[in-house]
Symmetry: C2
Subunit: 217 residues, 2 copies
């Protein structure tokens, strides 16, 4: 019975995700769902990415957090539309939560919608919010064993941003091992080694995101 | 209806947790449930703690991971009993999972059982496994906004280990702000600033854990 209920809940989520996806498509909006542990650097990556791309494309952000609006306030300071979703305890965003806030954006004016999920390397990947692709953010400081310990998020993601590479000299993480393990989980994954602090690697990441956004679909 | 089902599931978990707790108490075992994000440093903290305390008290570990036995192998190398629970996708340990493995330990010979939960700052805190106290591990590299963004785990924990303080010069985290926010969430929380890498602060942490283990109860 438990499995049945879960299947139904996920079924409803899939239906709603399809509705969201259709709305994005109608307006030519490309949507990415950004996921990762607390402190992986998702919001900082968004801030840097917005600054690099906002003169080229029109961007908006949906911020998922359990309680606060701290991340939305950070994004807002970069002058783009942002809506905060507080999940009030829930460990992930789902398609109905995202659907409820879509009317607050002028979708017809947007090129890229970035959904920043709740900080959690486990649960968010199980809930399609209607995005076109998932992107994982993993800080090297989390340790080089993380790809194999949490494979699902990397299997489902189109790209992974390996963040905080400036701290490589001060930790024991083997970045080459991380890349190798990521490719063993998902041979097609795009891997970007970056430091949001120093700016290293951000050009390649933002160029890739720009070209994905502009792909005909 | 959804709420009802959740209440029932948690109700069953509470019943099972009480059974686990009773078993610990019958054998004079003190049990802690160690929780934190992926890469906060839970396993490394356990390794250091075991090395500091294993000549003084008898310790065992239950390792919770989604898929691999990587952490259990690390603990095993320190010569203490360890059992791995693979949750096969689930984002937390619960009381029935822990109950299933308790028979694999000689509880009458133990002083301290350490349960290392799945790497997740959100979900594990909602599931009592029968432990006496919860302990949160938070790496300062995760950022100083994390206590306020994920308050529940810190509200429910008896102690928090602020790990990786050796990296303070290379990140922007304000450790005093973190401590202040932790105390605003939970005025009674015991805060230990440590570096598992350099050993800084581990003596105070392990002495506290030893005295908690030896408390009459």
């Amino acid at each position: 019975m438990e499995i049945q209920i879960k299947a139904d809940l996920l079924g409803n989520n899939e239906d709603q995700a399809l509705i969201n996806r259709t709305r994005y498509n109608q307006h030519g909006v490309f949507c990415i769902n950004v996921m990762g542990s607390p402190g992986a650097g998702k919001t900082t990556l968004l801030e840097r990415t917005i600054d690099m791309l906002k003169d080229k494309i029109s961007i908006a952000v949906i911020e998922g957090d359990i309680y606060t609006a701290k991340d939305a306030e950070r994004i807002e300071a970069h002058g783009i539309p942002v809506v905060q979703i507080n999940t009030e305890g829930a460990c992930h965003l789902d398609a109905p939560m995202v659907n409820k806030v879509l009317d607050r954006f002028e979708l017809e004016k947007l090129d890229l919608m970035i959904v920043e999920n709740v900080g959690n390397l486990v649960c968010p990947v199980e809930f399609n919010t209607g995005e076109h692709i998932k992107v994982a953010v993993l800080s090297i400081i989390e340790g080089d064993d993380k790809p194999l310990k949490y494979p699902l998020i990397f299997r489902e993601s189109e790209a992974v941003v390996l963040n905080k590479v400036d701290l490589a000299p001060f930790c024991d993480a083997d970045i080459e091992q991380m890349k190798q393990d990521l490719r063993s989980i998902n041979p097609n994954i795009n891997i970007f080694s970056v430091s949001c602090r120093t700016g290293e690697g951000l050009e390649a990441w933002s160029q890739w995101l720009l070209s994905e956004t502009n792909k005909p679909r």
